[in-house]
């Protein structure tokens, strides 16, 4: 299964479609980390992680997402989660991360949420 990452853009928002799993097993989480670090280093400040096709996440995957979220918030950016389900939703739920990291059930709603936040982030 591994992890497949597709990257697309909607305005100044970068969307990562994740498919497979983000675990420590065969370096999947490390792959996600590399992609996110590269994006942030290149100036991306608004990231939406589309988790609808992500089947499994472990603490290594969660840690990458949290680190990126914290890093983006420090730089006036933001990170959101789109459609976590099944085991992935369970992991985010039990860790109470859904209370902190904005999570959405449809993409349009997720994209809209970035715009007002982006304007107010520098205030």
């Amino acid at each position: 299964m591994g992890l497949q990452i597709s990257i697309r853009e909607s305005g100044d928002i970068t969307i990562l479609d994740l498919r497979g799993r983000s675990t420590i097993d065969s370096g999947e989480s490390e792959l996600l980390s590399q992609h996110l670090q590269k994006l942030v280093a290149n100036g991306v400040r608004k990231v939406l992680l589309n988790l609808i096709e992500l089947k499994q996440v472990d603490s290594s995957g969660v840690s990458i997402i949290v680190r990126t979220y914290v890093s983006l918030k420090r730089q006036g950016g933001d990170l959101g989660l789109l459609c976590p389900g099944g085991r992935v939703l369970e992991v985010f739920r039990v860790l109470h991360l859904l209370n902190t990291i904005p999570t959405f059930e449809n993409e349009a709603q997720a994209l809209a949420s970035f715009r007002p936040r982006g304007h107010s982030a520098t205030s």
Binding site: M1, D58, S59, S60, S63, Y69, E90, V94, H96, T100
Partner: protein
């Protein structure tokens, strides 16, 4: 105990796989995975044909058919390994009993899938089998009954993954799949922590593990060979963060130049009911209580 892996097939030789037809998407997917890596594939219609072929020539990987009982697969494996100790044999089965997983581990199966299972998961394990040059002393069953089994696991991720798949193969109708997933996920986090922090993924080191199935609970003990730690001093882990600031450990990790992490113990703690460390901090017991069906709803209201 098997002989060292150095006697296995040379890396440059073409690898060969023997597959028993299972039907459906399993056959197609395995063929694609093996062919894409240049493996030679031989097919047989049932397990009866495996032994003669495996005795006549070495196969690097054998995948059984799902129609056979596990007891027969394990007996077959025992006979093959007496001549070919490093063969990687993956058991697929629709016909199993609660003790079959332990038998399969004890006899040195590479992996074990009991129905229902996804073809993609089998394909992934086949990829792991193809990539593992030295694997067959990774898991050693020390004692085993369906209610209590103990084993050691070599401190590497490939062995951890194999062990976790064996656990997924356990079918117990009295445990819901959701509860089983929670226990396995928690165990996996603790196991990888033990291998990483207790042994730095040193494959010469081993973790000790026991599983106990009581009538109303599942318990799992993991002991690593490390010097231990104190939960109270664990500032770089989320379990040491205040609930109001779950991310403060991330700052500590950044300051200390550590890789992203720190959610393993917290996640394990949330997925089971109790996580109990010994004084030294190198031994932990996970406990998951299993509610009787009639009281499940009441207990959920209390959570």
């Amino acid at each position: 105990m098997t002989t060292p892996c150095s006697s296995a097939v040379a890396p440059t030789a073409q690898k060969t796989a023997l597959l028993v037809a299972s039907g459906g998407d399993v056959d197609e997917l395995l063929t694609n995975v093996l062919a894409s890596e240049g493996w030679s594939i031989q097919r047989v219609v049932d397990n009866q044909h495996i032994l003669a072929l495996a005795r006549a020539k070495p196969f690097d990987l054998i995948v059984t058919g799902r129609e056979t009982r596990v007891a027969e697969d394990v007996e077959l494996l025992r006979k093959i390994r007496s001549a070919r100790p490093h063969v990687r044999l993956i058991i697929l089965t629709d016909k199993f009993t609660p003790g079959d997983v332990i038998s399969a581990m004890r006899e040195g199966a590479f992996s074990y899938f009991s129905a229902p299972f996804a073809a993609s998961e089998v394909a992934e394990m086949v990829r792991a089998a193809m990539a593992e040059p030295c694997w067959d002393d990774g898991i050693e069953v020390l004692s085993g009954t369906p209610a209590w089994f103990s084993l050691t696991a070599r401190c590497d991720l490939a062995t951890a993954n194999r062990l976790v798949q064996f656990l997924h193969g356990v079918r117990d109708p009295s445990i819901s799949e959701a509860e089983k997933d929670q226990v396995i996920s928690a165990f996996r986090e603790i196991l990888i922590n033990a291998m990483e922090h207790g042994a730095h993924f040193d494959p010469s080191q081993h973790v000790e593990i026991s599983f106990i199935r009581a009538r109303r609970a599942i318990a799992c003990r993991v002991k690593d060979p490390g010097k231990g730690f104190s939960l109270e001093e664990l500032r770089h882990a989320a379990v040491g963060s205040s609930p109001e600031d779950l991310f403060s450990h991330a700052t500590v990790r950044d300051e200390q130049g550590m890789r992203p992490g720190g959610f393993g113990i917290l996640l394990a703690k949330k997925l089971v009911d109790e996580l109990i460390y010994n004084e030294k901090g190198n031994e932990v017991v996970l406990v998951k209580y299993l509610d009787p069906p009639q009281s499940s709803a009441l207990n959920q209201r209390h959570q």
